[in-house]
């Protein structure tokens, strides 16, 4: 009688292991491929070498793409985080007419198919002559990331005790001072998490980038994308590993942020 439950558990465990292998293998294989001594994207690799990382870090096409990604990612993160944080405060604490509609409009980028966003931005910015400028891509990426910042900060604000703001006010702090000295420090982990995700969204985004950039503003994913279609070289894998590493760092940082958020909320008041 004890045979079946154990077999069931073992089967479920084996299934889980296979599923994990299935979802992680495509990420893992990029590492050996990026270290290949050959010139093909194949496994097993003929030998080991750092040459493709050298290409990515020295070839002007890749370095320019890397710089573009950093600049566009940083600019859209700042924009999305500032706008998103203020909106999250207003939406969490406010009770004004049309609030649900506003939240719905702000959430549009979350469900809008990315291709429609890409083509629409292309069509819109082309009429203004902004295609091929970093500005257009920064605006588009910030629009894409801001709703995510709103969601993240709203989740963190729900556990924020508003009486603290009133306490601050009773002690003579104006709204700005209370915001700066009470709200921001306590919600900082949420804001930082939102900012990190916003950066990652911009850093990984390729569809809008493929419509709004010319060779000069190509971002890292955009360069990988054209590399896949034009010249398959293991440099793509090296660039992919850089993207994966960035994701890993951001994931680790957000986990740390959320841990801090829980700690802040658990502090005795």
């Amino acid at each position: 009688m004890h045979f079946w439950p154990r077999l069931r558990a073992q089967l479920a465990g084996a299934h889980t292991a296979l599923v994990l292998l299935f979802i992680l293998a495509p990420i893992a294989i990029m590492v050996p491929i990026s270290l290949t001594a050959g010139t093909m994207l194949t496994l097993p690799v003929p030998g080991w070498s750092w040459q493709w990382y050298e290409v990515v870090f020295t070839d002007p096409r890749w370095t320019r793409a890397f710089m573009n990604s950093l600049i566009i990612g940083a600019a859209s993160t700042v924009l999305a985080t500032i706008l998103g944080t203020f909106a999250a405060i207003g939406l969490t604490w406010g009770r004004f007419p049309g609030q649900r509609l506003m939240l719905a409009v702000i959430s549009v980028p979350l469900i809008l198919p990315i291709i429609i966003m890409g083509v629409a931005c292309f069509s819109f910015y082309a009429t203004m002559g902004l295609v091929g400028s970093r500005l257009a891509l920064v605006l588009a990426h910030a629009g894409l990331a801001a709703p995510v910042v709103v969601t993240t900060v709203m989740a963190n604000l729900k556990s924020f005790d508003r009486t603290l703001m009133r306490a601050g006010a009773s002690l003579g702090a104006g709204p700005l001072l209370a915001f700066r000295r009470i709200l921001v420090p306590l919600v900082a982990p949420g804001i930082c998490t939102g900012a990190l995700i916003a950066f990652l969204i911009s850093f990984d985004e390729v569809v809008i980038a493929s419509f709004l950039t010319t060779a000069d503003q190509r971002t890292l994913p955009r360069q990988i994308f054209s590399g896949v279609r034009e010249s398959i070289s293991p440099a793509i894998a090296a660039a992919a590993v850089i993207l994966i590493l960035c994701s890993a760092i951001v994931l680790a940082l957000t986990a740390e942020m959320q841990r801090r958020a829980r700690k802040l909320q658990m502090k005795p008041r």
């Binding site: 599923v19 979802i23 406010g94 702000i106």
Partner: protein, 418 residues
């Protein structure tokens, strides 16, 4: 409240009452909250909603023709396709319109717009642009133009010109549903060899449904294992499931191309084992599309189901077993109905994401596996056919809206039950 009371309330205002009402509205807490949301709202409107609206409007926009062919269109007011090629007056107006378009440098635009609705008209219009400077008068316009441009004898061309009386067109919307207007102006299906879009819509829906089902089946046992894992392992397992979600979609898709390609690890190991002699065509097929899409979307399904499974009371199965149910009955009739909301949530998310997928089908699917998104991109990139691209985008949004409404209705229903 007595009448006297209300009269007094109406009439007596403390000094500064209106000022305080005014300042409450303008500087009160609600206004402050509204003012905090406003910048982002405006930003999203300007960077997302307006561009998308501007783009979708192109599905019905006929203003290029309406603005460039006003006289020719007006002269066809009483003309019907059955009347055949219109008379000299129309040709004269047509020549005048082209002359004006050449002067305004909008001829190319107009030719492009016409060409999207009737192939081959672009060159004809450009040639007409070179001709109109010559000796075309109001009297000989028809003979002169028809002699050099036989395409103008096509009645369909004049139907298009007549449609220029309106700034709106249903041409692209009909085309995206494999429909067109025939010579009598009635809506009819296009020839089967030209009908591609209904199949594309259907394919998009079928692929999304299949991906959702596969994800649900694969995710269910994983969610149970994750929910019953002990603390240190539970966190590690969760991180392993989360990690792919955070890595670039593009990277994961490219990786599947490498794995599944002719010289990829799957084919080489199968050959090494002697199971196959020649490499299998695994990449650029429907199968590879399913593999890549499921890999990308599976974590979302696992997380949605996990959120429900962790809240299930452990005693449920024991209670059911004590009442005589075997394991399968306990699972099927007690646990699964309680997990269903999680599955539905996950299915909604996965389905909606799958519908709009572009990168994965574009890179790893074959020509017969392309979804609506790819067609939107195709008509934008290759032919700059904005009208058709926008009409197809509208279809995609429509499918999405129906899916989301159905999902919301289902959730409301299931919540009403429990």
């Amino acid at each position: 409240m007595t009448q006297a009371d209300s009269i007094q309330r109406e009439t007596y205002r403390a000094p500064g009452f209106w000022r305080s009402v005014f300042s409450k509205i303008l500087f009160g807490a609600e206004m402050r909250h509204f003012a905090l949301v406003l910048p982002l709202l405006l930003f999203i409107l300007v960077t997302v909603v307006v561009p998308v609206g501007h783009f979708l409007y192109r599905a019905i926009d006929n203003s290029t023709l309406a603005n460039n062919l006003p006289h020719a269109a007006a002269s066809l007011e009483n003309w019907q396709p059955q009347d055949g090629v219109p008379g000299n007056a129309t040709f004269a107006a047509f020549a005048a319109d082209i002359r004006a378009a050449v002067a305004a440098e909008t001829l190319g635009q107009m030719a492009q717009s016409l060409n999207q609705q009737l192939t081959g008209t672009r060159n004809m219009m450009l040639k007409a642009g070179l001709m109109v400077d010559d000796s075309i008068t109001d009297l000989n316009a028809k003979d002169m133009l028809l002699a050099k441009l036989p395409g103008l004898a096509n009645v369909k061309m004049w139907m298009l010109v007549k449609a220029g009386r309106s700034s709106f067109t249903d041409f692209y919307l009909l085309q995206s549903l494999d429909l067109e207007r025939n010579l009598n102006g009635e809506i009819a299906a296009v020839a089967p060899d030209r009908s591609i879009f209904l199949a594309a819509i259907w394919r998009t829906i079928v692929i999304s449904i299949n991906v959702t089902l596969i994800c649900a089946l694969l995710a269910l046992p994983v969610a149970h294992v994750l929910a019953s894992a002990r603390p240190p392992y539970a966190g590690i397992l969760l991180a392993l499931v989360l990690f792919p979600l955070w890595t670039s979609l593009l990277v994961r898709t490219v990786s599947w191309i490498i794995i599944l390609q002719g010289e990829g690890p799957v084919n080489t190991s199968l050959q090494f084992l002697g199971l196959i002699d020649d490499p299998l065509h695994l990449v650029y097929t429907r199968g590879s599309l399913y593999i890549a899409m499921v890999q990308v979307l599976l974590p979302l399904m696992i997380l949605s189901i996990l959120a429900v499974v962790v809240k299930l009371p452990k005693e449920l199965v024991r209670a059911a077993t004590s009442l005589g149910a075997d394991w399968w009955q306990a699972y099927w009739r007690v646990q699964l109905p309680l997990i269903a909301p999680g599955i539905v949530t996950g299915a909604g998310i996965v389905f909606v994401f799958a519908l709009g997928y572009y990168i994965t089908p574009a890179l790893i699917g074959g020509p017969r596996d392309q979804m609506l998104s790819s067609y939107v991109a195709l008509y934008t990139n290759k032919t700059l056919n904005w009208g058709l691209a926008a009409a197809l985008a509208l279809q995609l949004l429509l499918v999405l809206a129906v899916a989301m409404l159905g999902w919301a209705a289902f959730q409301k229903l299931s919540r009403g039950k429990s």
